[in-house]
Amino acid sequence: MSDKKKAASSDDLKGFEELIQPPNQQRPGEITPGKNAGGEHFTFLLQDGDRLQSIVALVSDKVPMLRKFSQGEKLLESQTRTNARLRAELFAALDAEGAPLQRSMAEVFDGFFGKTR
């Protein structure tokens, strides 16, 4: 009975022998089973490729752009001007008649030396 079944199944597979892959034979592109069964090396190489891609983008695109069109000096100049304006505003506000600093200083001096007016 079992011989008959075997014979029948071998008849069914006739013509498909080439397409059926025997076990333990690796197709090109398949990950080798064993230590690297989880595709560890493949993932590692993909990540390394991404890392290299970022470095290539940095050294061949971003750095030359930074060298040719550096914004650093202009931004520093602009911020220095803004700070100077703010400082001037601050001094003006502190120096104004009746300003909080003036009032506090008057209180301190009056406390020590008595009222001048």
């Binding site: 230590k35 090396h41 050294v59 650093g72």
Partner: protein, 165 residues
């Protein structure tokens, strides 16, 4: 073709010829390199660190890319551009993989990565380093100025608030 995992290079001594023997142009083009010097005396280690730093500062190679170069020495963190790690176990884990024969798909990836490694190699490390250094310096200066400006603005806002009250 090998996987880009650590290549352990043991430096024999602090003699110039022994050090220059391991410092080859493009040494870190295809895989990261760990120069092991922890078996030498402290003076020798210091001398080798100096020689390696000088070699990289000439600008033909960068110790950071395409793959990093590390010095394995218990002397601790050096102030130079080449990172120093206390022992082999302290090396970054990313490149610590088991050596193995790559299969077809992996070989294709390695070939693709080789092209990018060559592209990185064509850049001028001295110029790249100088540009990045200047960029970082500008950022730090700008940060300080913006902090100063924010302080003035806070003071002004409080003064105006008090003046209105």
């Amino acid at each position: 073709m090998n996987l880009p995992i650590y290549q352990m290079v043991t430096v024999k001594s602090a003699l110039l010829e022994d050090v220059t023997e391991v410092l080859v142009n493009g040494m870190n083009q295809h895989r990261p390199v760990a120069l092991v010097i922890d078996h030498l005396t402290r003076d020798d280690q210091r001398e080798i660190i100096g020689l390696v730093e000088n070699w990289f500062s000439e600008g033909l190679n960068s110790p950071r890319y395409p793959y990093p170069v590390y010095l394995v020495s218990p002397l601790g963190e050096a102030l130079g551009q080449v990172p120093v790690v206390a022992n082999v176990k302290a090396l970054p884990a990313f490149f610590r993989k088991k050596e193995g024969k790559p299969n077809v798909r992996e070989t294709q990836l390695i070939t693709r990565n080789r092209i990018m490694q060559q592209e990185v190699r064509n850049s001028d490390p001295l110029q790249v380093d100088a540009t990045l250094l200047r960029y970082g310096l500008h950022h730090r200066q700008l940060w300080r100025l913006v902090e100063e400006g924010a302080f003035y603005e806070r003071l002004l806002a409080r003064l105006r608030q008090k003046g209105q009250a």
